[in-house]
């Protein structure tokens, strides 16, 4: 039989598409069903946060960081306040540190639940989305009681946190931890053993550690290759050195490993939350900070372990109360560069699976 001649087709997976990662556009050249080349186009959500930050005082920048990686706003807040505290050598009271760790780890958990829900929604399964969001609603409810907002918290301040936990909050969060563990078992039952799911995600999107390091990947995208690098352990900040938790590493560097790393990290986050809830002392929640924050002149870089990787803040200051240049090292932006190499030779349905497993948030890609 004669060879069927196929032509290459330039296709656009447009900025508006149902896999809800946001406004990402991928221009692919396909030959039949196989992708020859893929190029992501970003910038559809570029809001100019860094330019706006040059006109704002440090405390006023904190709400803008909420909206960068909007699934884990507390972590973004944490990044900028620890960067300014590192630059100014400020002390944070113990209770504030513990509250910070509790909310950051709960937020990490929430973001991983959204990953689970949306990844499986992309792959075609509707129910895990509902279960994941139902659990997320519980945590959102706790945060609502704590700081008044559901998504963009604006909770941390340089030197501490804004409000203390209301009465009964700590006990309620203590009841959440065993509940979430049971829910996680249920989600594992529902998803992880599913044959269709395993067939779709095992063995695709594989890369090794050298490639990951040269590309500057961080977070789960680096740890899925087997490389143990977590900023909470390797460059400890805040009070993470007091807690006992493991760093989850994968083995093969494929999409299934990334999924399993997300699920196991939920368990680790629950461990940290439990320990922090035990150890939390009483005391003030805001340290002694000057009314107007003036970062001494110079340049500073401080990075924390965000939910998607290394979230860094680079401040160039002239000694005034507004930064001269504020740059966010955004993990999703760097992690997304892996897409053109991973997609070469894959089918279109694998594109969705790989894109979902990279776990990007477009607010962070574009800032």
């Amino acid at each position: 039989m004669a060879e069927i001649r196929t032509e290459e087709l330039l296709m656009n997976i447009g900025p508006q598409h149902p896999s809800t990662h946001g406004v990402l556009r991928v221009v692919v050249k396909v030959d039949g069903e196989i992708i020859k080349e893929a190029e992501p186009v970003v910038g559809y959500l570029h809001r100019g946060t860094e330019k706006l930050a040059e006109d704002l005082q440090y405390t006023q920048i904190i709400p803008y960081t909420d909206r960068m990686d909007y699934l884990s706003s507390m972590v973004n807040n944490h990044a900028i306040v620890t960067a300014v505290e590192h630059a100014m050598d400020l002390e944070v009271p113990e209770r504030a540190e513990h509250l910070r760790v509790i909310v950051v780890e709960l937020n990490r958990l929430m973001s991983h639940l959204v990953f689970l829900g949306t990844y499986l929604l992309d792959l075609g399964a509707m129910s895990p989305f509902l279960y994941a969001f139902a659990n997320r609603e519980r945590v959102v409810d706790y945060f609502n009681r704590l700081c008044g907002a559901r998504l963009t918290y604006n909770y941390m301040r340089v030197g501490g946190v804004k409000w203390d936990a209301p009465d009964g909050w700590i006990e309620d969060v203590k009841t959440f931890v065993p509940h979430m563990r049971k829910e996680l078992d249920m989600l594992h039952d529902l998803v992880t053993g599913n044959e269709i799911f395993l067939n779709r995600v095992k063995g695709i999107g594989v890369y090794d550690t050298d490639y990951a390091l040269s590309l500057g990947l961080s977070g789960i995208n680096l740890r899925c290759t087997g490389f143990n690098w977590d900023l909470r352990k390797n460059k400890p900040y805040s009070i993470y050195d007091r807690f006992d938790f493991d760093v989850i590493v994968g083995q093969n560097g494929d999409c299934f490993d990334r999924y399993m790393c997300h699920m196991k990290e939920i368990v680790e986050s629950l461990k940290i939350v439990e320990q922090a809830l035990e150890q939390i002392p009483d005391g003030p929640v805001m340290g002694k900070v000057p009314k107007i924050l003036r970062v001494p002149a110079g340049e500073y870089y401080h990075a924390i372990e965000g939910t998607r990787g290394e979230l860094g803040v680079y401040i160039v200051s002239e000694g005034k109360d507004k930064p001269y240049r504020l740059k966010f090292r955004r993990p999703s932006f760097i992690n997304l560069q892996v897409l053109p190499d991973l997609l070469r030779g894959q089918t279109m349905s694998n594109l969705i699976a790989i894109l979902g497993a990279v776990d990007i948030v477009l607010g962070e890609v574009d800032a």
Partner: protein, 186 residues
């Protein structure tokens, strides 16, 4: 009898729905439609049907999109209002603009709006879509979605909580029903 429906969606100068009858002038047709029993009721039935099965296009740009997803999920269900999210603009009859519109995204939004078939409505969710939001002074942000397409309902908030979004969608449903009765709705 010729049935010719004109349901327009612009906020400014709206002409209420009426049916042109043969042999009558436009004003007489409008009078007849307003007071009509059979045709008026048909319009109202259509309005009732359209409002109770609004199918929005998934157009989540930024953080408001997560709240929209949360509203559609288990705790605050949108399916009980008949609202199912559709992925293709050809199959949707309303578009909920959730999130910031940037200058790069604006032509895409316009094209999506044009691709939607009539009748269509637009909901601007959140302060970014209403008027630029916290990014109003940025160089790359369009200050409100109504600079690109006509908007029917504005929902304030940053992000609006799910009850607020549900309230806004209920308002849109009311607007559809009122428009069907022939009243101008601002």
């Amino acid at each position: 009898m010729e049935v010719n429906n004109e349901v327009t969606n612009n906020n400014a100068n709206q002409t209420p729905a009426y049916i042109e009858f043969e042999g009558f002038t436009k004003e007489e047709s409008q009078e007849l439609s307003k007071a009509g029993v059979l045709i008026g009721t048909l319009e109202q039935i259509k309005g009732w049907a359209r409002s109770n099965s609004l199918w929005p296009l998934t157009f989540a740009t930024a953080c408001c999109g997560i709240e929209m997803m949360g509203t559609g999920a288990a705790h605050y269900d949108l399916d009980r209002f008949g609202i199912i999210f559709r992925a293709s603009p050809r199959q949707a009859d309303c578009i909920i603009i959730a999130g910031t519109i940037t200058k790069k995204m604006a032509p895409v939004l316009k094209r999506l709006y044009d691709q939607m078939p009539e009748p269509k409505w637009v909901v601007a969710m959140g302060s970014c879509a209403t008027a630029g939001g916290p990014y109003v002074r940025a160089y790359s942000v369009v200050k409100g979605a109504d600079q690109i397409i006509p908007v029917d309902v504005y929902i304030p908030g940053c992000p609006p909580s799910p009850p607020a979004l549900i309230y806004g969608l209920n308002k849109l449903q009311e607007k559809i029903r009122l428009e069907a009765k022939g009243k101008k709705v601002r």
